[in-house]
Symmetry: C3
Subunit: 359 residues, 3 copies
């Protein structure tokens, strides 16, 4: 692993080590405050995200390093039509590690393939956002003391919420984990994710009612339900309040349940819940910084050794191509179409994981 592109790049052992490092940083920050002296992080944000960008910047500063970059595409050369590959190769002249967010799926992988320095995916469209999942995981470990034997409720938009999919992917690997999927019909977890759970023998149940599901949960992961996602305004008006967390809905929750939210929230958690000791979403933001510190150290091999410098490159398959219009392969100059086989043997685009189709 040279880069972090997808949370699945990290094994449970990797996650154990990263959270160990984060806990040590929390315990002894001064021991880490100069480890990145003379190093530079580039934050290449082709679309804005204050929280994520500032978290990376704070992480690097707390390690004694420096930061440069841009916070939106129109202040970058992307406006002049430069490819992601070229940007990565130029920026590796200026920095030691890159954190990048891009509206197109697979763009961070293209950067990783082209740059010799580590690339961290800070969000590629609706595809992956692995450092958010790192924040979620450290929060669960700090609050519950373990990753296994937990009942995890996921509430709201389970269809489009990439953080939900990543968290399921990461937590599925621990023993005794059970998921409770709480969403309106329109926003159910996609069929292929449910199939993964079934094939892995991971127990899950679906529930339309948050209050009904509440008493059994150890963790409640809230996400936003957006109006645009509903078939009709009536449907939205009828359902929206069901997925807003209020003090009232918490009355039958376990006293040590923990409430997560990737933030920003709009109104899906009442402000009155913030003072409940079960609310963890602001400490989740803090934990995100510590995990990013641990990750930067790991990828730079500080202290100790760099992980193996592997980057997946897939294979070229004549006659196949990716038709996902949100994939980086649609716009990147001379980017070869490359594929990987999934668990079921089907070819998927190396960059965005869409199923390959014939040309």
């Amino acid at each position: 692993m040279k880069d972090l592109i997808d949370i699945r790049d990290l094994s449970p052992e990797d996650l154990q080590k990263l959270t160990d490092t984060a806990l040590d940083i929390i315990a002894r920050p001064e021991a880490y405050s100069h480890l990145c002296q003379g190093k530079k992080l580039a934050t290449l944000f082709f679309e804005p995200s204050t929280r994520t960008r500032l978290s990376f910047e704070a992480a690097m500063y707390e390690l004694g390093g420096q930061v440069l970059g841009f916070s939106q595409a129109n202040s970058s050369s992307a406006a002049k039509g430069e490819s992601v590959a070229d940007t990565a190769r130029v920026v590796e002249c200026y920095a030691d590690i890159i954190a990048t967010r891009h509206p197109l799926e697979g763009a961070p992988l293209v950067a990783a393939i082209n740059a010799k320095i580590p690339i961290i995916n800070a969000g590629d469209g609706g595809h992956n956002h692995p450092t958010q999942t790192l924040a979620d995981l450290l929060t669960i470990r700090r609050r519950k003391g373990r990753f296994g034997h937990l009942t995890i409720g996921l509430c709201g938009d389970l269809k489009y919420g990439r953080t939900v999919h990543s968290l399921i992917g990461a937590m599925s690997r621990y023993e005794g984990v059970k998921f409770v999927l709480i969403s309106p019909e329109e926003l159910r977890l996609p069929e292929y994710v449910r199939r993964d759970l079934e094939q892995g023998g991971i127990p899950y149940e679906e529930n339309r009612d948050l209050e009904d599901a509440m008493p059994g949960l150890d963790v409640l992961y809230m996400t936003r339900v957006q109006r645009e996602r509903f078939a009709s305004m009536e449907e939205y008006e009828r359902l929206k309040d069901s997925y807003i967390l209020t003090v009232d809905k918490l009355k039958n929750a376990k006293p040590d349940m923990c409430i997560l939210h990737p933030l920003p929230r709009v109104n899906e958690i009442s402000v009155l819940v913030d003072s409940d000791p079960r609310a963890c979403y602001f400490e989740q933001a803090l934990n995100g910084k510590f995990m990013r510190m641990a990750l930067i150290l790991r990828l730079l091999g500080i202290p100790g050794e760099k992980p193996a410098q592997e980057v997946p490159t897939g294979e070229m398959v004549p006659g196949l191509r990716c038709w996902n219009h949100r994939c980086i392969c649609q716009v990147e100059q001379e980017l070869p179409q490359r594929f990987r086989r999934d668990r079921e043997g089907a070819y998927r685009c190396l960059y965005c994981e869409a199923l390959a189709e014939t040309e």
Copy 2:
């Protein structure tokens, strides 16, 4: 005082101490150059202001600290509709102190109420801009050696100019201060500010003519007169030149008068005045940096002790509400309506100071 939201939060003793610190920084910069090592300033600028932002950043760097943040709202989560309170609570995970500018009145106070770290108001709409007044005050002290016994001319837009109102508020507390208000009829100092002067027994006079007022002034504070503020184009054309400072209009000014301007200027001071030794507006920008250094140290309690961590919270008054459409209370999620009584006993909005009205 945990934060600096309004210049009136600072007593004359506070101002004496802050300007003392600034003068010591000027005399012995190397003694201060590492005091903020390991500390981070977040500059959260929801609307752009190069001068103010760069001044804060330079201040923090000259104290040995680091800076992160954003320079306009569309590169921030605000574009996704996040509340000011949530932004403040997340950013306190990443920084030790926040300087924020926001188009809505009261937004920095909302941040201060929600964050445990110090908040500095770097401008909230037309409401307050206390660090500009700190720059003005240090410039007066360095040039005149005192705050009392000065005749201060204020010229231009006295109606909307928030820096004028703040300077009057701060200087009114010193003995022997007299104001000369020089403006067109349309842009007179608001009635409530004049009433404050009268009730406090502070002498002032109004004058439509800058040249006529000039000989008596120890300090001349220029501001911009904007075309949009006039009832008619004819009126503007007839009056505009009267409020532009030229070399010629200075001929009867005292030889040690000092000319201030909050910058940026457009054309209200001729470039030819810049080389006059009485022109202080560029050193005012420099003084702003030194006062921001003194302020950051004070709020972080470096060296020595932090000031008392008080944040005004006002009171809830059933049946009353704030109707000011530029107030943060109109948009912030679940923000309670809160009020404070003014000197005359009337309830005013805690956030923007507008008079409360019945619901």
Copy 3:
């Protein structure tokens, strides 16, 4: 030389010293890593340019200094109509050296005239971009070991390409240099540049065909050919492929030729050329950082002495004025019209070098 505004401000001796310093930085980076401690670079980019800005920022960080600034005009006071002169005078309160890019020709010179600190021109419209030329020159020196006795091919848009004009200006001063100008008729090198070559006795030839010119070249400088520059779409379609560098077109090139490109490229060099050892454009970006480090040290006088603090001021000539609508003199408040005589005795605008005309 207090500033770097135009590559011609640097003599061949200056260039020798700057490249010497850059080579020493490459050899012994740790010897330079603290030389700018406590110094601040302001990057004032009134139009975006990621590559150039990040290169300056990386340069300053690798010297141990700090960076502040803005990356586009709408996050700056320029949006409020502040003059370049005022911006420069304010920013010198906050920084020790300024690198600035501006859409108007001559803006960096106006900053240099007004600020007491050094100004580096990071691009002023289509006029000058001297630090790009510094990157080009270091790349040539590192690859070829010399500046003289080289045949330099310049390919693509030779009419509008400011980097081409600067490189010709800098390289013309070395013995044994010959230029091969490869462009469509529409984009030939301007007549006044060709006249300069002829008057200086510098050999050059023109060629419409890149493959034909290839075998004789020691250096090939590629630039982008933009569609908009052609008289007709047919003409563009007929010609465009001739000026795209492919693996195939390189087959008769010298084995040690070096290929330069100022970047960003769009499609004028095939990605397949990148792995050819003659491709130098990414190391050119790296070399740009080292030259900017050498330049910052030189202008700050670290170590050693500052260069003489001269700024050209030209002369006022009644009855003459500059009519170039892209010149800073068209918008800057109260900026006097000033002129310099060129080699042929004609008056040219001090700021943009356009020929002066009668009022």
